[in-house]
Every structure is written in C-alpha cells, then in structure tokens.
Symmetry: C2
Subunit: 314 residues, 2 copies
C-alpha cells in the first residue's frame, strides 16, 4: 500500500530531536466518544486489537464515565475485558471515584483524569470552580496511586478556551503543578480548540520546565482545527517531548464543523516521524488498513491526509 | 469573523524565526490551472483584486503557456491587463520563448520558469532530458534578464517524484545552481507530490547553502498531500526562509484524491505566522471572505482547515 520501494518519505534525521516517540493512541476513546451512532462493542474491541497489531503500545481503551454523559462509552464494562489481555498499555479515563472503582474492579493498570486549565471549562463541564475541580480529582489520584496504578492527568484548554480565549501560561502551569503534586505520573497538554501555534507550544513547555515540571512527564495533545497540529508537534519534539497523543485516522469530531475536535491523525504523525527517522514501532500500512476499516464501520472517510493519499484506489 | 477579541491565536514569537515573511500567492495560477470547468476571466480578475485587497503583495496571476496544454489559463491575454495596475507584484509563468514574448508584450515585470529536479518529470512533461530542459530555459531567462525582468525558477519534484521516489539532494542542488547561473533571481523548491518531511527540508536547504546558494534567494512550495506542509514550512522558517508559496483557500487539486496537489492553504499559513508574531501584511478575515467567495464560484468547499473553522455559520 505504501511505497517503501520508492524510499518515501526519505528518512532524514533533524538535529535535536528524540530518537524515539511514544504515540499515545486516543482513537478508541477520544475519537469515538462523540460519535452519534452507537458503535458495537465488538467493533471497538476489534479496533483496539488492530491498533495493537499495528504496533501501537499505548491505547486509551474507554472511559468509566457515567453512561448518561457519554452514551457511546456506556459499554466500558463489556469492552475492557475483551482487550485487557493485549500486551500493550491500556489506560482508561476515570472522571471520579465511582469511575475509578469500576476501572479497578476490572483490573485496569493505568487510569487518566480529565482536568482543565480554565474556570470556564470547569464551570461548563463540572459546574465547579477550577480549584473545586482539582479538589475533586485529588481523592481519585490518591486512591489510584495507593492501588499502584499509573495516572495520567489531562489538562484540556491548555492553550485557548472558547469562552476565555488565550489562556495565560501561568494558569496552565499552576494546574499542571497541582496535578503532579497530587500524584499524577504524567500529564497531557490538550489544545482542545486547536488554537496553539509553535511559539506558544515552546513557551508553555519552557514555563513548565522552569516551574520544575520535567519534560519527560509531559505529553502533547494537539487538534487540527486550524491545521496546526503537526507543526505544533514538531515544535514540541524540538523541545524534547517524546509522548504525542494522536487518533488513528484522525477520528474525533467532524473536520467540516467549527466544533471539530479534529484530533491529530496518527498516520500523519507516523509519516512525519518516519521522515525524521524517529522510531515509533508502528507499521503504517497496517494502521492505514485499520483506519480504512474503521471509516467503513462509521460510514464516512477518514480526514487523515495520509490515509487518503495512501488508501486511494488507483 | 475571526475572534481577535479572544486574542487567538496568542502571538508568541519563537527564537530564530524571521520577523516578516513574504507570502507568494499561487492560487490564481497554480490553484486554478487544473480546474475542470472554465473559470470566467472576470472571476479570476476579481479573485486577484480581492487577494491584493487582503494584503497579499505577490500574486502569481496566470501562465502564458500554450492554451492547448492548460485550457483554464487560455485567457492570459484578457486577464493580465485587468489586474496589471494593482500595486502588487504579479509574476506570470512563461514556459518558453513564445510565452515570454506574450508576457513581455503585456508589460509583465516578473516572470517564472518551471523546471524540475528529475529526469522522469522532464521526460514526462517536456519529452526532454533534464539537461535539455535546462537548455530550453536558458534563452528564456537570458532574454527576460536582458529586458530587466525579475525571474523566478520553480524546481518541481525537489523532494520526491512519483516515478523515481526520493530525489537525491545533490541532484536538486545541481538544478538550482544551473537556474541561478543562467540568471534566475529567486528559486522556489517545490514538493510537488507532498512527500517532504522536516528533516529533509533542513537538509536540502543546508546543502544549497553549502553550494553557494544564499537562503534569501530561496522560497519553499509545499503540498499537503500527507499533511506535512505547515510542519515543513516551520522547518524552513527555522532555517531562515522568508518566502513561502501558498494558495488561498488551499486551491489546487482535490484533497480527496491521491493525485492531490494539495497546496498549502494561505489561511493556515497566516494563522501560524500570526501565532508566531511574524508579519505578513495579510488581513485574515478578508482573505477568508475571498476564499469562501471563490469556493462558491467553484461550487465546493475550501479544504483549508482555517477557512472551515472560521467561516462556519453558527
């Protein structure tokens, strides 16, 4: 399907970039959660199996959120046991203590909490102040750590917010510090509305380092709403970031709507990293086959440019 | 339309980038040349006027190619006088001496020749060897320079070629040197099939510098076939490049087909540069209005993510 015999993309390493990148695959959770039509549990399970077969080593599997909030992921109890034996990391989202209980009962070894950098989002999403929302996560993180689980903290709206606009860097740093201080092992800086640009990325990462947050604890989660996701990723790699969130086939939000979440497509990321000679362990052909299959399940084409370019029937 | 009151994108300059970038707008020529339905001359003229009103200072207007080859641009003689009084640079493509005659007769002050880095493309496009194709351009460039015209040399297939795959950097350097030696004032490195990645870009630019080609004579022309155009542009800016080719609304080739030329959308570029605090002189709202209008003329939506995000009706 791809054309390695043509030597494309030509692998030309660039100075100052990491030798390997861990792709944190979010398609099965973040990518599917806003799908209108219910995706059958067996399709989700096959999707995750295929992603693992394609070489992805970290695959966020589902969310133990209340089914009322995210009906698409109401099958978490049914899904997780169908994938939990895969030899990959399978983090799951836990919104609160009840969600953590459910995840722990199924033996989840990695969990993630979903915080935000802004008052407006905390208010809109949780009807809490920012500090109240952080206080809500504290017992979740504490308990997960006591139980020996690995904990990721998402910080949504890390660059911009639809109500507040540009988010001051010190505010993001404060939330990151709070999540690390309560015990999170890693953080994911989310550009939920896609308004980050490369200089902003570097500035936030530098400010975090200055506040004592080591680069190796940080991942980046860019959205392609304004076409910036891959350029922002390059800027993050130049800063030393080695964990990049991406969604197979660009799943997650319709790219034609303003409300697009527009997740960075894993294939476009793998193409860039392959060109940079950076190891990901991903088999691009298998991944594209998976995304084409998933697009068929959902009944619409993948927005990933790499998937479109390489899956086109001659 | 955009939301400057929200301060987005937050302008955060990054180290080592230029203070200003000249956008070389190719929508009216490269963007339209492969359109199937004939675009009326008055629409093309209005498009160019609107682009100038939006602040673009270099707008490639048309091509004086034989009408048999590019029927869409057969109206070059009718179009050019309708835009030639605009206070912007209006380069035109001239494929050969006959095309140059036509351009000079209309008073064109800037012309461009379209060379290639590979034997396969020279063979397919001109039925000549690479050296024969360069020999064909020599009298065109010579005469344009004798007449006091500014000459741009395009080098298509500067990174990859659909027949040969990855193109060796020394071969691209040789073609660039030949074009400069025959008198070209500037060059545009074209990633015609979109397979460049950031390290490859830096490596080619460095090799050109080592061969005595100064960075200020170079522009970059990236395609988004694999989603890499903006990341590659960032890499080029980091090398000191200050001329970037882009196409308003991403005009040029269907993004859904493998054969997509998939020009970098000017709006996505302006969004990134605005975020980096780099001056372009472009009014993004006016440009988006123009691309939305042009998309209506062509009867299909713009593939630019920034146009989609900001032109969405609430």
């Amino acid at each position: 399907m791809t054309t390695p015999e043509l030597g494309l993309p030509m692998a030309v390493p660039a100075q100052g970039l990491p030798a390997a990148v861990r792709i944190y695959e979010v398609g099965a959770r973040d990518g599917l959660q806003n799908e209108k039509g219910t995706v059958p549990t067996e399709v989700k399970a096959e999707f995750i199996h295929r992603l693992a077969d394609a070489g992805l080593t970290t695959i966020e599997a589902t969310s133990f959120v209340h089914p009322k909030w995210v009906p698409q992921l109401a099958d978490a109890e049914q899904l997780f046991p169908r994938v939990s034996e895969l030899p990959v990391a399978l983090p799951v989202l836990v919104p609160n203590e009840r969600g953590l209980d459910r995840a722990l009962a199924l033996g989840a070894r990695q969990v993630a909490v979903f915080a935000s950098a802004t008052e407006s989002f905390a208010k809109a999403n949780l009807n809490r102040t920012l500090d109240e929302s952080l206080a809500m996560f504290e017992p979740v993180v504490n308990r997960a750590k006591t139980e020996g689980r690995h904990v990721r903290g998402y910080i949504s709206m890390s660059f911009g917010d639809p109500w507040e606009g540009a988010v001051p860097i010190p505010q993001v740093v404060r939330v990151c510090r709070a999540l690390l201080d309560m015990g999170c092992d890693e953080l994911s800086l989310g550009d939920t509305i896609g308004v980050a640009t490369a200089g902003h990325v570097r500035a936030l990462l530098s400010a975090l380092n200055e506040a004592g947050v080591p680069t190796h604890t940080l991942g980046v989660h860019f959205h392609d709403t304004y076409g910036q996701a891959l350029a922002n990723t390059l800027a993050a790699l130049q800063h030393g970031i080695t964990t990049v969130d991406a969604s197979a086939g660009g799943l997650g939000g319709c790219p034609y709507a303003k409300s697009a979440t527009g997740n960075l497509a894993t294939e476009d990321l793998v193409w860039m990293l392959r060109g940079l000679g950076i190891d990901t362990g991903v088999d691009l052909d298998r991944l594209i086959t998976t995304s084409v299959w998933m697009a068929e399940q959902l009944g619409r084409p993948s927005p990933s440019r790499t998937v479109r370019a390489l899956s086109h029937k001659e």
